[in-house]
C-alpha cells in the first residue's frame, strides 16, 4: 500500500470510529441517573474509541504532510479536515474534565459532518503556491483551527442547552429559530449526500462558457439546475438546466456554486422532511427528552468555559499569528481583506459574548444563542468568505 492510500484509509477509519463512538456515548446516557456525570464503562469505551479515531486521523495528517511536503492545511479539504480534528481534540479534553457523555452524543456526529463536508472538496495533492510557503502556514492555520475547534464545543453545549431548555409545548419564536439552526445542520448533510451520490454515479455535465470573448469549459458534477451565464451545454443525455445563473454573480465558477447550493437545499430539505415525517414532531422537540438527564447548569458551564479557553487561542492564531505572517508575506500585517475582517468580526463577537456574560449576567439561554451565532460566524468565514467573497485567502 502506498503512502497516499494509507493516508486516505486512516482518515476513513477515523471517520467510522467517531460514528461508532457516538453510539457508545448514546448508550452511556441511557444509564440510570446516579451514574450520570460519572465515568461510566460505556462512556469510557466511547472515549477510548474516540481517541483511537483521533490517533488514526493523526496518522492521516502526518502521512499527508510527508506526501505533500508541507503542513496539510493549505486548501479547503485539508483545512476543514484539520478543523474537524481540532473539534475532536477539544471534545476529548473537555470530556476528560467534565465526563459528560451527553456532549459526545452531539459533538461527535457534528464534527463528523464537518469532516465529511471537507471530503467533498478536491483531495488532490497539489503544489504549494508561493504565498503559502512559510513555516507560519503550519503555526497560523493550526492555531486558528484549534481555537475554532474549542469554540465549536461551546456551540455544541449552547445548542444542547437550547434543545434542553426551550419550551416545546407550543409553537414560539424561540423554538422555530432553534428548528432553523437544526435545519441548517441538515443542509450540510444534504450537501454531503447529494455530492456523494452523484460522485458515485460519476455524473458529469460540461458547459462551454463565453468569458470576455474567450471560451471556457465549466464542468458540473451535479445535474445542472442553474447553468452558467451565457453557456452552451456540450454533454449529451444530461438534464437540461432550468435557468441561468444571474448576471450579478461573478466569476467563472458562479454557476456551478449556485447549482451546488440549490442542490444542498433540495437534498437537505428532503432529508429534513423525512426526519420530520418519522419523528412526527419538530426535531428539537424530538431531541429534548434525550437531554432530560443533563443538568442545564453543566451545559452552561461547558459552553462558557470553552469560550473562555477558545477565545485566547483564536486571538493568537486568527489575529496575532495571522498579522505576523501577513507582515512577512504581504508587507502589511493588516489589510482589511474579507477573511481578516471576518476574523475580526468573530473576535469582536466573542469579546461581546464575554462582556455580556461577565458584566451583564447573560447566562443560560441568552448565552446559548450567542454561542450558536458565534459558531455560525466561524462557519460563514470558512464557507462563504472562501467560496463567495473575493479574498486573498481563497485558496481552495
Amino acid at each position: 500500500m502506498d503512502l497516499y492510500s494509507i493516508s486516505s484509509n486512516a482518515l476513513l477509519t477515523a471517520f467510522i470510529l467517531y460514528l461508532l463512538a457516538t453510539f457508545f456515548f448514546g448508550g452511556a446516557i441511557r444509564q440510570n441517573k446516579s451514574e450520570r456525570n460519572k465515568q461510566t464503562k460505556t462512556g469510557t469505551i466511547g472515549l477510548v474509541i474516540t481517541i483511537i479515531g483521533f490517533v488514526s486521523q493523526l496518522v492521516y495528517f502526518i502521512t499527508r504532510w510527508v506526501i505533500t511536503g508541507h503542513a496539510p492545511v493549505s486548501n479547503l479539504f485539508e483545512f476543514t479536515t484539520f478543523l474537524g480534528m481540532s473539534m475532536i481534540f477539544a471534545f476529548i479534553i473537555i470530556y476528560i474534565y467534565y465526563k459528560n457523555a451527553f456532549l459526545g452524543v452531539f459533538a461527535l456526529p457534528l464534527a463528523t459532518i464537518i469532516i465529511a463536508y471537507a471530503s467533498m472538496f478536491s483531495t488532490d495533492v497539489v503544489p504549494l503556491q508561493a504565498s503559502l510557503q512559510n513555516y507560519w502556514l503550519s503555526i497560523h492555520v493550526t492555531t486558528v483551527a484549534l481555537g475554532q475547534g474549542i469554540l465549536f464545543i461551546s456551540f455544541v453545549a449552547g445548542l444542547m442547552y437550547l434543545i434542553r431548555q426551550i419550551d416545546q409545548t407550543k409553537l414560539s419564536w424561540r423554538n422555530v429559530m432553534l428548528e432553523l439552526v437544526i435545519y441548517c445542520i441538515f443542509l450540510f448533510i444534504g450537501f454531503i449526500a447529494v455530492t456523494t451520490i452523484f460522485n458515485v454515479l460519476s455524473y458529469e455535465a460540461t458547459f462551454e462558457v463565453e468569458r470576455d470573448g474567450q471560451l471556457v469549459i465549466a464542468e458540473y458534477h451535479l445535474p445542472p439546475i442553474a447553468a452558467p451565464k451565457d453557456s452552451t451545454l456540450l454533454s449529451e443525455n444530461v438534464m437540461k438546466s432550468w435557468f441561468e445563473a444571474p448576471a450579478w454573480m461573478h466569476g467563472d465558477e458562479a454557476g456551478r456554486k449556485l447549482n451546488t447550493v440549490i442542490w444542498s437545499f433540495f437534498g437537505g430539505s428532503l432529508i429534513y422532511g423525512l426526519a420530520l415525517l418519522i419523528s412526527r414532531r419538530r426535531i428539537g422537540e424530538r431531541l429534548q427528552p434525550l437531554l432530560k438527564g443533563v443538568k442545564p447548569d453543566m451545559l452552561d458551564e461547558i459552553m462558557y468555559r470553552s469560550v473562555a479557553i477558545g477565545f485566547p487561542v483564536f486571538t493568537l492564531g486568527g489575529l496575532i499569528f495571522a498579522a505576523i505572517w501577513a507582515q512577512i508575506a504581504w508587507g502589511r500585517f493588516w489589510g482589511w481583506d474579507p477573511k481578516e475582517v471576518w476574523a475580526l468580526i468573530t473576535w469582536f463577537f466573542y469579546a461581546a459574548f464575554l462582556h455580556l456574560r461577565l458584566s451583564r449576567g447573560w447566562h443560560g439561554e441568552k448565552s446559548g444563542w450567542l454561542a450558536v451565532i458565534g459558531f455560525a460566524i466561524i462557519m460563514f468565514n470558512l464557507i462563504v468568505v472562501n467560496l463567495v467573497l473575493a479574498s486573498l485567502h481563497s485558496y481552495a
Binding site: G69, P127, A130, M298, F348, L358
Partner: protein, 546 residues
C-alpha cells in the same frame, strides 16, 4: 465625601455596596448592584464603590458614567462589528480587480454590481475602514476601554486588599455556595484548612475565622489585556505619522539600477534577475492531481542594495557601495537599515530594446544599409549610422494606443507596446522620410519613401515590483499584542476562588465560597477538602432551572 463606617469598624468609601472588610451589605446602597429582593449577592466587583455608580450629577460624571457602562461598550463593539460586515459585501476599493472595466470606484461599483454597487459607493462603503465614522467608532471603543477599566480596577483592588477572613453572616449566607454545619470540632477545621492548602489555596486566619483564596491575580487579567489593546490603538495612531511609518512601491527592470524611493537618495537597488517558477508538472507527487493551471511556486528577485556615500552632496554623482546581496522572495523580504523590501509584483517580457535596419523600399532582398538599436527606456533623439544615414526619433509611444479621435498616444510610460515615428535622412541629404513603426505596423506616411525601416530584433526583460516599507510601530504592536495575550490568558485560564470558613456565635460552622467562573471546579475543591470531616458540603443556591 461621606465615608461609610461599618459595624465591623472598617471605613468604606462612599458608594460601597458590600463592606470591604466584612462584606456586610450597606443597607442604602443595595440597589446599585441590584441586590434588593435577591436571594444572592451580586459579587461582580466585590460590591466596591465605583465612581460611575456613585456620582451622577456633573457633566463629567455623566460622560464618565456613559463610557464606564459595559452596555455602552458592547453596543460600540456590536456597531463596529456590523459596520465591518457591510464592508465585506463588495470588495474594498484597494481590492478592485485588475481586470475590471475601470479601477475608478465611481465607475467600477455601478458597472459590476448595478444599483446596489452604486448605493454602496455613494454611502462610502468602498473605503469603509478608513472612513471617519469607522475610525471614530474604534476611538470610542478605546475611550470606553480606558474608563471602564479605571472605574472598576481601583475600587476592586481596594476591596480585595481590605478583605478580612471574618465575614458578616448576611454576606456568607447570600453566597451562591453556602452551608452551615454543627458538631464540627477544631480538628475538622484543621483538616479542612490543610486540605485547602494542599489544593494550593492561600490561607489567612484571624480569630479562628479562615479565608482560603487562590488565583486572585486572574482578577487583574481584564485590566492587563485592556492595557494591551490601548497600546495597539496608540500604535495605530502613531502609524499614521510619516516618521513612524512610510511605504512606497517601485518597478525595477532587470539590469536596472535605481534609487530606492523614500530613502532620501541614500539607497540604490539593482535588479540582477527576476525569476518566476511554476509547478513542474513532472513531479511525481502531483501526478494524480489534475493540474488545470500552472501553480506559481516562486517569485524571486535577485538584488544588490547599494548605499550612496555622498547622498547629501547636491549634484554629485553618487558613490555606491554594495551593502547587501539578496534574493527577495514572497515570504522572504530583504531587510537593511530600517527598510524592508517585499516582492509584490512582476511583469514578464517587457520590451528592452528594438533593433532596426534600413533598406531600399523596392529591394526584395532587403539588404541592410545600416542598423540601429533603440533602448526603449532611454531612447536617443538622433541615431547616426556608420553608413551615413541619420535617423531622427520624432515621436515615441512606449505603450501605443489609437485614441478615439484617431491620434496616436501612449497609455502608460511602460514600454509594453512601443511605437515610433522616425525620420530617415539618407547620407548627405537634408530631406527626411517619415515612417511610422510599431509591432506589426510599418506605415509609410507619404507612400513615396525610398527607404524602409524594418524591425530586426527585439530584446525582452522582466520587471519586478518591489514594495518598500519602513515601519517603526511594529514593536509597539508586538508589545500591545503580547500584553493583551498575557492579560487574556491570566483572566481566562485562572479563576479567583475564595472559601470562607467562619465560626458563628452559636458555634456552628459557616462555609461559603465564591469564584468568578468555573463553579464546577470550586465545588470539586470543596468536596475534596471536606472529605473525612463533619463539615457539610456547600449547597449551590443558584442552579439554573431544571
Amino acid at each position: 465625601m461621606n465615608k461609610i463606617k461599618c459595624e465591623c469598624g472598617h471605613i468604606n468609601p462612599e458608594g460601597t455596596v458590600l463592606c470591604e472588610a466584612c462584606g456586610k451589605p450597606v443597607e442604602e446602597n443595595q440597589h446599585i448592584d441590584g441586590n434588593d429582593d435577591k436571594k444572592l449577592l451580586n459579587m461582580r466587583y466585590d460590591g466596591s464603590a465605583r465612581r460611575s455608580q456613585t456620582f451622577k450629577k456633573s457633566l463629567i460624571d455623566k460622560i464618565w458614567g456613559f463610557f464606564s457602562s459595559v452596555k455602552v461598550g458592547v453596543w460600540l463593539i456590536v456597531l463596529t462589528l456590523v459596520a465591518s460586515i457591510f464592508g465585506t459585501i463588495f470588495p474594498q476599493e484597494q481590492f478592485i480587480p485588475q481586470d475590471a472595466v475601470s479601477r475608478d470606484p465611481a465607475i467600477f461599483y455601478e458597472d459590476r454590481y448595478g444599483i446596489f454597487g452604486l448605493i454602496y459607493y455613494q454611502l462610502g462603503f468602498h473605503h469603509m475602514y478608513s472612513s471617519l465614522w469607522f475610525i471614530i467608532l474604534i476611538a470610542l471603543i478605546g475611550v470606553s476601554l480606558v474608563i471602564c477599566s479605571l472605574d472598576r480596577f481601583i475600587p476592586l483592588f481596594r476591596a480585595l486588599r481590605n478583605q478580612k477572613p471574618k465575614k458578616h453572616k448576611k454576606f456568607l449566607s447570600k453566597q451562591r455556595l453556602y452551608s452551615e454545619s454543627s458538631n464540627v470540632d477544631d480538628a475538622d477545621i484543621d483538616k479542612l484548612v490543610k486540605n485547602l492548602k494542599k489544593s494550593r489555596y492561600k490561607i489567612t486566619e484571624e480569630d479562628g475565622h479562615v479565608l482560603a483564596e487562590k488565583g486572585r491575580f486572574s482578577r487583574w487579567g481584564p485590566y492587563v489585556n485592556h492595557i494591551g489593546l490601548i497600546i495597539i490603538l496608540i500604535a495605530a495612531i502613531l502609524r499614521s505619522t510619516p516618521i513612524m511609518f512610510s511605504e512606497d512601491y517601485m518597478w525595477v527592470r532587470e539590469g536596472e539600477q535605481r534609487v530606492i524611493p523614500g530613502t532620501n537618495n541614500k539607497y540604490y537597488i539593482e535588479n540582477k534577475d527576476f525569476i518566476l517558477e511554476t509547478q513542474n508538472a513532472n513531479d511525481e507527487r502531483f501526478q494524480e492531481a489534475s493540474l488545470e493551471e500552472e501553480i506559481p511556486v516562486n517569485y524571486q528577485t535577485d538584488v544588490v542594495i547599494y548605499e550612496a556615500k555622498n547622498a547629501d552632496v547636491v549634484g554629485a554623482e553618487p558613490e555606491l557601495e554594495p551593502i547587501l546581496t539578496y534574493s527577495i522572495q514572497m515570504n522572504n523580504p530583504a531587510k537593511f537599515d530600517k527598510y524592508t523590501l517585499y516582492q509584490q509584483g512582476y511583469q514578464l517580457n517587457e520590451f528592452k530594446n528594438m533593433s532596426f535596419k534600413i533598406h531600399e523600399t523596392d529591394d526584395e532582398k532587403e539588404e541592410s544599409l545600416g542598423n540601429f538599436t533603440i533602448d526603449l527606456t532611454n531612447p536617443e533623439s538622433v541615431y547616426e549610422l556608420d553608413s551615413g544615414f541619420r535617423v531622427e526619433l520624432t515621436n515615441y509611444y512606449p505603450d501605443y494606443i489609437m485614441t478615439e479621435n484617431g491620434n496616436p498616444a501612449s497609455e502608460t510610460d511602460h514600454p509594453r507596446n512601443p511605437a515610433f515615428v522616425v525620420t530617415v535622412y539618407p547620407p548627405d541629404s537634408d530631406e527626411g522620410e517619415v515612417s511610422f513603426l510599431g509591432i506589426g505596423k510599418n506605415i509609410d506616411a507619404t507612400g513615396e519613401n525610398e527607404y524602409k525601416v524594418a524591425i530586426e530584433d527585439v530584446e525582452f526583460r522582466d520587471v519586478s515590483g518591489i514594495a518598500i516599507s519602513s515601519d517603526r510601530t511594529l514593536p509597539f504592536f508586538i508589545l500591545g499584542a503580547t500584553i493583551f495575550m498575557i492579560g487574556v490568558i491570566q483572566g481566562m485560564y485562572w479563576q479567583h476562588r475564595r472559601v470562607w470558613i467562619n465560626r458563628d456565635k452559636d458555634g456552628s460552622l459557616l462555609l461559603a465560597a465564591h469564584t468568578n467562573k468555573n463553579w464546577y471546579g470550586i465545588k470539586r475543591d470543596i468536596e475534596k477538602a471536606i472529605e473525612g470531616t463533619n463539615v457539610s458540603m456547600a449547597r449551590d443556591q443558584q442552579e439554573l432551572d431544571e
